[in-house]
């Protein structure tokens, strides 16, 4: 049995990852390409039902106490084995997409980032590595903003990641789904995942709260503890500090 072609889907919550992939997978099904889906989330998900509804095998991984992107990499090999056992030609892994610090892409899988064009124009900059390390950027909800804004949005994405292929998909009507399916067909390659590398390092997670600490306060904190730097405070006049004191007493 050949190893499946792996596709990793990331992007902010509610950007339309599941809807977009359902339309693309439906197109693959029409072309008789077998797909299996793994959905990673933190606490709960119902997205697996939507995938089941279109008849693809789906596995759910809930990361619970640990970072869902770490959890994803740790389980990648097993996902691949499961997809292979399902005789899947394509393995789609939909990640949780939460803090934007990480990018779950690896060098031997197709990395897709899904973003909502209704979010701020700054979003391409804000989500950082998910966008810069992606091969394909899917833009959703473009039908409800002006033509010009759609163009401006694409332009921003292109400036941040000039190599990415940009695909517009309407998650509700499915318009553009065939384009995405065409991209998957063309660009997702059959490659062995073991020994491949993450495209972006994941954050170090070694403070006391990573280990289950619940109490708040510096004296409970151990390990890699980084404190914020705050802007300097202007010195208050006597009258102001009296006022501030009064407020403090009232509260």
């Amino acid at each position: 049995m050949d190893v499946p072609r792996t596709v990793i889907v990331a992007g902010p919550p509610a950007s339309g990852k599941t809807s977009v992939m359902i339309h693309a997978i439906s197109c693959l099904q029409r072309a008789e390409i077998r797909t299996a889906v793994v959905k990673i989330d933190c606490l709960a998900t119902e997205d697996d039902r939507r995938y089941k509804d279109i008849g693809v095998p789906v596995a759910v991984g809930l990361s619970e106490d640990i970072c869902p992107d770490h959890y994803f990499v740790v389980n990648l090999e097993e996902m691949r084995d499961w997809a292979e056992a399902n005789r899947a030609d394509v393995l789609v892994v939909e990640t949780a997409g939460l803090c934007h610090r990480c990018a779950p892409g690896i060098d031997k899988a197709l990395a897709i980032c899904v973003i909502d064009s209704h979010s701020s124009i700054k979003i391409p900059e804000k989500i950082g590595p998910i966008l810069t390390t992606s091969d394909v950027v899917v833009v959703t909800k473009g039908d409800s903003i002006s033509q010009a804004e759609r163009e401006v949005f694409r332009n921003r994405i292109h400036r941040i990641n000039p190599n990415a292929e940009i695909v517009e998909v309407n998650g509700i009507t499915g318009a553009g789904g065939e384009h995405l399916a065409n991209v998957l067909e063309r660009r997702a390659l059959r490659q062995e995942l073991i020994g491949s590398r993450l495209r972006h390092p994941m954050p170090t997670a070694i403070c006391s709260y990573c280990m289950g600490e619940m109490r708040v306060g510096t004296s409970f904190q151990q390990g890699a503890v980084y404190k914020m730097t705050f802007p300097s405070v202007e010195t208050l006049t006597a009258a102001e500090s009296a006022g501030a004191g009064a407020m403090g007493e009232n509260s």
Binding site: C27, S117, H118, S120, I121, D143, S144, I145, S146, Q147, A148, E149, R150, E151, V152, R154, N155, V167, E168, T173, G174, A175, G176, E178, H179, N182, V183
Partner: protein
Amino acid sequence: MISTVSILAGRDKSGNPERVERLDISGGQIYSIVGFTGSGKSQLIGDIEQMAQGDTVTGRSILINGKAPNPEIRFHPESKLVAQLSQNMNFALEMTVMEFLGLHAECRGFAADETSLKTVLDSANSLAGEALKPADVLTRLSGGQSRALMIADVAHISNSPIILIDEVENAGIDRRCALDLLTGRGKIVLIVTHDPQLALLGERRVVMKNGGMDCVLERSEGEIKAEEILGRYTKTLAEVQEKLRSGERVEPEIFEAMEVIRA
């Protein structure tokens, strides 16, 4: 250069072949698309926007200058063949009208000098009831102002050869002016509409039924006259609206002009 767009028939909602087998639209022509709600008007526009190749729900194929577009054109909106305007579109950016126009002009790769941006703004103002100011914030524009700005932007900055319009009549803008602005320079224009006057402004009407193209009607001499008369009705209606808006009373005599039309 795009001279024609052709629509090759697919299937209607019952799976039957569409009655109109092929539709060729040349530059400089306006087609209106009519039919009841749910008859497939927006999907027809959607198929053109995506340049469907038998791979959408309808199974239609779109040809550009008689040939299937290559994937480069089809999947890269940078080639910018199609500009769209629809009733569902809103502005989402928190920036001023001028900043926005400048940004869009820059994306389309032409110099965004103040004079040319001013032209776009003036043209938007010729359509909108209330004037837009350069420093107005996009998201706070009224419905009519937003629509007027989108139309002016599509006409001047987007400059795509194919324009798809989906029911933009309800925003209190001057329909005829809007259409004149959009249709200049040999463009291919398709308008989905429920508005009788806009429907009659199209040189041809595509009638949609049950998801399929049912027939194409050439505008008759009689309809050209009917459109003129409708224009006068529209004008009277606008007068009534204007009076109501400004707190005046409406007397039945205002319709006397219409009686004259009928006679």
